[in-house]
Assembly symmetry: C2
Homo-oligomer: 175 residues x 2
């Protein structure tokens, strides 16, 4: 017989509330700082950041969606806006004509370079400056433990149809 849900213990409840408060406030602080000083929301900054760290500064739309833990639709809308702003350019993929490349433009690279210091400063102030080196390690371990179920559970992933594992064989080569 099912006992009903196992509610959270007092310790878990306390951790949960603190976790929710901290992540919510941090997200808001990062978003507001970037909007104010760089004119872009955090989600768009992360798109530019991911593109900047990849050879050719180019990724397929679906790779971008995977890396940023967001849906294809969201990426499509976001890249459309970043393209209007001149920070990203779309290019067709020759090997697989279903795919589209998103490429960071020089203007986008500049915008990212100007936004990065303020962003890192905000992350430091609200997170790492308050943590010991030991706590940083603990946090990494905790987050990796969470990523297990989170990446295994299909209901936890943004796009319903996606398989648990990555597409596997890399299809497209860039440039």
């Amino acid at each position: 017989m099912d006992e009903g849900p196992r509610w959270l213990t007092d310790d878990e409840q306390a951790a949960w509330l603190a976790f929710r408060a901290a992540t919510t406030l941090l997200d808001g602080a990062l978003d507001r700082q970037l909007q104010r000083e760089a004119g872009m929301p955090l989600a768009y900054y992360q798109i530019l950041a991911m593109l900047s760290e990849v050879p050719g500064r180019t990724l397929r739309m679906s790779e971008l969606a995977d890396i940023t833990q967001s849906s294809q639709s969201r990426i499509s809308h976001a890249v459309a806006r970043l393209e209007r702003q001149g920070w990203v350019r779309r290019r067709p993929c020759q090997d697989d004509r279903r795919s589209t490349f998103a490429e960071l433009t020089p203007a986008g690279m500049t915008a990212l370079a100007e936004a990065a210091p303020g962003h890192v400063r905000t992350v430091r102030q609200n997170m790492f400056d308050a943590l010991s080196a030991e706590q940083v390690g603990q946090l990494a371990a905790i987050c990796h433990a969470m990523l297990g179920p989170l990446t295994a559970d299909p209901a936890a992933r943004p796009v319903p149809g996606a398989l648990p594992g990555r597409p596997g064989p890399a299809g497209c080569e860039r440039d």
Copy 2:
């Protein structure tokens, strides 16, 4: 002379990426589960949950905004929708006619009670089941450490000029 921003160390960078991924995926999983099984987003569930845990199941709008770490505008829109749905009722405040009470209705209490088990199950599956008791304690300590700067920095709070402490005895000491 400014050294430029202090970039993240490799350890910090690794922790940061894992933290971002874990919190983003967890948020999405919780939101999708509630939307699917209870027809409400996580933010609205939390409003109902906060109201349910308070004597009289009633809070002022601004208290609700503080507790849920959200803006007054967001609460106003959200309560408007919850009211249309019959889960919350607005009542005028006699003592201070600027204020408005938000009261959880019996229907809202029922909806919350039906949504709670699935929500707790999702939290367990994606978080606490993957963590040891020791890690739960570490996480709580880490989040409390982050809440220091996050609640101190006025730029980190949703509404500019809001009070630093909730029911704090010192309240608003500002001149």
